[in-house]
Amino acid sequence: MTDPLMIFDLLLALAIVALAVASLSVRDLFSMIVLFIIFGLLSALAWVRLSAPDVALAEAAIGTGVTGALLLKTLHHLRYVSGTLGQQTALGVTPVAPVPMGIILANAGFCGLITLGLLVAFLGAPATGPGFDALVAEAMPQSGVEHPVTGVLLNFRAYDTLMEVVVLLAAVIAVWQIERGLSDAPAPVMGEVWQGFARLALPAIVVVGTYLLWVGAEAPGGAFQGGAVLAAVGLLLLLTRAYIPQPAHRGVARGAFVLGTAAFALVAILVAGGGRVAFEYPLEHAKTLILLIEGVVTLSIAVTLAALFHGREPVALSEGGRHDT
């Protein structure tokens, strides 16, 4: 009798592939986005089945939540720009020239080659190897935290995490260069049910985000997951226009963007003295330093993701350029 959990896994895998195919071949842009969001949701479930709750948390919060809202906002903007906001048109928002068959075939061939290469690598790899579990477990007492993923992210491979934070900073710098402007669109009428719920839920979500950050030392969680959940609060405020980005707040925003990277780099440099290299936290302070870095990075990630969702620098432009949200 096959393990029924295996059937569940198989169904999940098939569903993910089917959703990917469906979201690429559906004609209506809105359905495409809905299918993509659900694809992200099922991917997060797949991560859970692979016993990777940290990745599942990040995939759920960032890959599904923030990205889904971003795609919807992009669709809204496209329709606003092309003047079809009041209609439920299908794919023809802007007419796109059909791709020549040669390019399609070349792409398909290329993807096929990559898939083949992955298959060969996967099948040729040793089925059971030592892996890194033993090494990491051995080094954990020197890392200052109990959760191996946090230990790897913030201590053993801290350079990688620093670079990830820098990537976010670079993204928001680029976005603020490309798009600027204010908007005088009216706030959406959300109704009293929403107001009551928001008063209850938004503080609760802040608590959950902070909890995720705090628990990352011993259990799945951490700066990125906590930051993404806090960014979700920002998204809700921006969507319902309870907060409208003002030109006067740009200084604070810029400070928040840079804070995470700066604090991370500063700690790395400051611990390097007295015979240590950068990022070699002294053992008795390791936990405090890691928590400090994570706290500041969480704040920075939250503000950065919310700014990336809003998509432009709130600057009063002298001519035209009013936006729709």
């Binding site: 959703l19 359905s31 439920q88």
Partner: protein
Amino acid sequence: MTTFLSLTLIALLLSILAGLVRIFRGPEPAERMLAAQLFGTAAVAILLVLSQLMAMPALLDVAMVFALLAAITLVAFVVLASRGVR
């Protein structure tokens, strides 16, 4: 017990996959939003069962985050989806 829970999981997964039909066929955006809400709630249920089955209490935190992002996605739908003209 574990077999029973696994069967429950399969039943839940199948019932949410059936909801996909509504995304393909639903004549208006509201129907698709509804299907998305189904996925969110069912995913939380699946995670509650999985956290018992895989003995990972961390999955309860994942369930919490799923619930949050389902709420945010629906608010984004309602605010940003263009309304059909009838």
